[in-house]
């Protein structure tokens, strides 16, 4: 197995990664709906962080 393949195996599948991000967003929303569930702009920091991290941690 090459180094690239080994590194690829350590990364998350893209669908699982985004499901985890969604679960975090839902969790934050349920804990504090007034801060996270009233408008799409409240999700921008999380989506920005997730979009930036995605190429580094997903296959």
């Amino acid at each position: 197995m090459t180094e690239d393949q080994q590194s690829d195996r350590r990364r998350l599948p893209s669908w699982l990664y985004w499901l985890i991000v969604l679960a975090i967003a839902v969790g934050l929303g349920v804990l504090a709906p007034a801060l996270f569930l009233l408008g799409f702009w409240e999700m921008i920091p999380l989506v920005l962080l997730a979009s930036w991290l995605a190429p580094k941690v997903t296959r």
């Binding site: 709906p33 989506v47 979009s51 930036w52």
Partner: protein
């Protein structure tokens, strides 16, 4: 009123109509009827509601008031301005489609919208669920997500799942960015992560808010935490709109 449906509908239009739709302008159209008025309808506070207006329903959907923002003529005028300033027909049409979709979604509640304004102030309303914005955000969330309103949101969310590939980076690079000059313009000032954020945020919020609100309304909140899928529900809500 509708909640996450306004965040998700433009993605379906893009998925179905392809490059004839600019997602960004369709989203702008979808947000525009509420963007300047909804905060005033709800007032301040979440758990403790502080009203700002004597008659928020009239202000939001009526005339005199800002209800004209929920009429197709408003979408036509603004999309005409977009066409005049940008000379881009796709942007103008996308804005119009987003705005009219918002209007049509809001005809499903008990207050409805003035579809024929300024010819008539008659409200097209189907009364599938009760308009409850006047009691503040928290109780409106309870009313909406325990009634058919939440089902309406879920309908769009489930339909959009069929097109989940449109949220991938590859799809954005191959199908979205090359077909809308907005992204080329934005790309001059920022990187791809920011563009992907702009592209995905509304849909991501739509899904997170539908799931989050359902959990909060039914499992955390203690104010009428039960589904009420009766026509015009929930039954506890005060009646609003034309009789």
């Amino acid at each position: 009123m509708s909640w996450a449906a306004h965040d998700l509908e433009p993605y379906l239009f893009r998925a179905k109509m392809g490059a004839r739709i600019s997602l960004v302008f369709c989203l702008l159209g979808s947000y525009s009827p509420d963007v300047l008025t909804k905060w005033a309808v709800y007032g301040f506070g979440f758990t403790h509601h502080h009203a700002l207006l004597d008659d928020p329903v009239q202000f939001h959907r009526g005339w005199p008031g800002a209800g004209f923002t929920h009429s197709p003529i408003y979408g036509v005028v603004v999309s005409g301005l977009i066409l005049l300033l940008s000379r881009n027909r796709v942007w103008a049409l996308s804005y119009l489609i987003g705005a009219v979709a918002h209007d049509l979604s809001d005809t499903l509640d008990s207050v409805g919208v003035m579809m024929l304004f300024p010819i008539s102030t008659w409200h097209m309303h189907f009364g599938l669920w009760e308009y409850v914005g006047e009691v503040g955000r928290a109780h409106d969330a309870v009313a909406y997500y325990t009634s058919w309103g939440g089902v309406w949101d879920a309908f769009w969310a489930v339909w959009l799942l069929r097109y989940w590939r449109m949220f991938s980076t590859r799809y954005f690079r191959d199908e979205i960015a090359p077909t809308d000059p907005f992204w080329a313009w934005m790309g001059r000032y920022t990187g791809e992560s920011v563009m992907l954020t702009v592209y995905r945020s509304s849909a991501f919020f739509g899904y997170a808010s539908i799931i989050g609100w359902y959990i909060w309304v039914l499992a955390v909140n203690s104010f009428h935490p039960h589904l009420d899928w009766s026509f015009g529900g929930p039954q506890w809500a005060p009646r609003q709109g034309p009789q």
